[in-house]
């Protein structure tokens, strides 16, 4: 479960990026816009783009944790690889998780549209071959119906104008194992966030994931200069 009091983050500008803050202390005092990056917002699709193995699926599952407190949530599984156990571990309520399998790219837009008519939060893998026109229609529907939607394209990135926020992994580090000893225990994921969700300014955030249902944003640093929004 996402506990705001446990979330900690530091949002600084470039000039103060070297400062060290007591993050626990800050979390109680600063209204933190960075933590909203990992929260599904109604009508504002989030695109998770990157290769397999960087932790984007878990991040996508994590987006559903908070909405699942109130109503059923859906994971749209294209490859047939989604593990419900992993979704529950990300904090999603067990009895409110529904997994819809849809490998066919022709039916996929219809299924997502049908789900958007009633489900409040969806994490959907996007198969290759879905037409840009269909994706744009879906984005409009998502905005109209105020659905929280996380999209994980399995091919290339989505066309512009679809996602409100695009999260792209830069680096992943695992700890807990050492040449045969121990076990995987904690993942640190460095993400680049871009799009309207970050006001067109590319931001780099670091996310700690210790395999429990809490994902911590441990830093959020402004990087680079403002770019065009993704959508």
């Amino acid at each position: 479960m996402l506990e705001h009091s446990l979330l900690s983050s530091v949002l600084t500008d470039g000039s103060s990026s070297g400062q060290m803050f007591d993050r626990w202390d800050l979390s109680t005092r600063i209204q933190d816009p960075v933590q909203d990056l990992l929260r599904l917002q109604p009508g504002r699709p989030v695109e998770l783009i990157g290769p397999l193995g960087f932790g984007l699926s878990r991040l996508g599952y994590r987006l559903l944790a908070e909405p699942s407190q109130q109503a059923p949530v859906v994971v749209l599984d294209v490859r047939g690889w989604v593990s419900p156990q992993a979704v529950w571990e990300a904090g999603v309520e067990q009895d409110r998780l529904v997994i819809v399998s849809c490998p066919d790219e022709r039916v996929w837009p219809k299924v997502v549209a049908a789900l958007c008519e009633g489900v409040k939060a969806i994490y959907a893998e996007v198969p290759t071959g879905v037409k840009d026109q269909d994706l744009r229609r879906l984005a409009a529907l998502v905005r109209a119906r105020q659905v929280g939607l996380g999209l994980r394209p399995l091919g290339g990135p989505l066309p512009s104008g679809i996602a409100h926020l695009r999260l792209r992994p830069i680096e992943v580090r695992w700890s807990g194992n050492d040449r045969g000893h121990g076990r995987l225990s904690k993942r640190t994921l460095v993400l680049e966030a871009e799009g309207r969700g970050v006001s067109g300014i590319t931001r780099r955030i670091e996310v700690e994931d210790d395999g429990t249902d809490t994902v911590r944003v441990v830093s959020g640093l402004v990087t680079g200069s403002p770019r065009h929004a993704v959508g």
Partner: protein, 463 residues
Amino acid sequence: MVVGEAGRVVAASAQARLTGVDLGMPRRQAEMTAPGAKVLSRDVAEEWQRFEAVVAAIEEIVPKVEVVEPGLAFVPLAGAIRYYGGEETLIEILSSKLELHGPRLGVADGPFAASWAARESSAGSPNIVYDTKQFLADLDVAALTGESPDAEHLVATFRWLGVTTLGALAQLPREALASRFGASGLVMHRLAHGEDRMLDPRDIPVELAVEAVYEDPLENLDQAGFAARATAARLMNGLHGRGLAPHRVVIEMESARGEIRNRVWRSLDPFTENALADRIWWQLRAWLEAGQIQGGITRLKLDPSDTSGSGRQLAFFEDVGARLEAERALARAQALLEPNSVRQAVPKGGRMPDEQVVWYRWGEPPPPRDLEAPWPGRTPRPTPSLIPPRPHPLEIEWDEGHPVRIRLGSRWEPVINWSGPWRLVRKWWAGEQPVDRYQLVTSAGAFLCLVDGDGARLVGVYD
């Protein structure tokens, strides 16, 4: 024998029962117990269609039959006894009317006692209970199973406390039961006392009923199915807005030729939208297929009664409206895909991640499973986010027993770190070889692999 969706026996012939097959027995155990028995899958719609003939026969004698499920119906006798001149006469008439169907009839004060009286009767010899309290006193407390959501747990506790019959339970002070077991304890005590709900529902406000009129008569089953779902949704929306849920619904239908048919459905738990839609659908299907609707359906009315606020205890943050909308959206998605494409899962025991869940179709009850077993040696958490349906062959390069590189597509990735091997000894008695599990970390992510004499296989991606 007939096996339900949960994989358990729901009906068995007398011959099968003689060999030791019992209701509720898992299918595999039943097949072992009676290897020659033919196994059939349960078809509730078909059962209802056959039961419709029984209900129609009863209705010729006593109106307002309440159907609980195919095979169980309650009949209010108060008015009919006066009309026919006594219980014995009425039961005799009913018995002869239903002779072909071999019914088991029980008469008692209230549905709970009557259903147990029927269970203890046999075909051709109805069981008329004159002293309901005395009849109930001899029943085992297990009779209360199913009467409340936590009844099974309560029955086990009663037994542990030495209260084994309903008579013993009825002698306990009601306040003490209510204080120790809450509302469920109170319900149990009332039932043990014979204070059951009566088949005489209280008056209900007219505006709760919903009605749909069709200019083009509904003549086929698909149309009836959509009508059932839409009307059930309208009724339940209206009731939820008032914080109510129905235990009893009258389904009334008018045909193009002006014939009006109605049927009362009852449920111990308040009806959900899906459950109600199913029952309307079964009812309409039975009427249509039996040719009892000439020219199609022109009007469908649902009249709820025995409404109560119970059964609607929400989770702390639950949003009922959102849940109902989601259910409708999922039903549409299910119609676009196939039913098995919309699924839920429940956890179960197992050592490998793919063994630790049981899938079931959305909208159906979850299958029973055993979570008590300890499963030593299970793969440590976190669970891989992605699990391929079948293990994928994987090429790994080794150096002195340590993984060095793995092939991902066309490129080789150096192994940065790893955990394992963890030996997994599987069904050796079935010829399965032991395998070693590894967690491999590369710059492209972390993977869970199985390695044995035949090579390596990918079984999970920590994505």
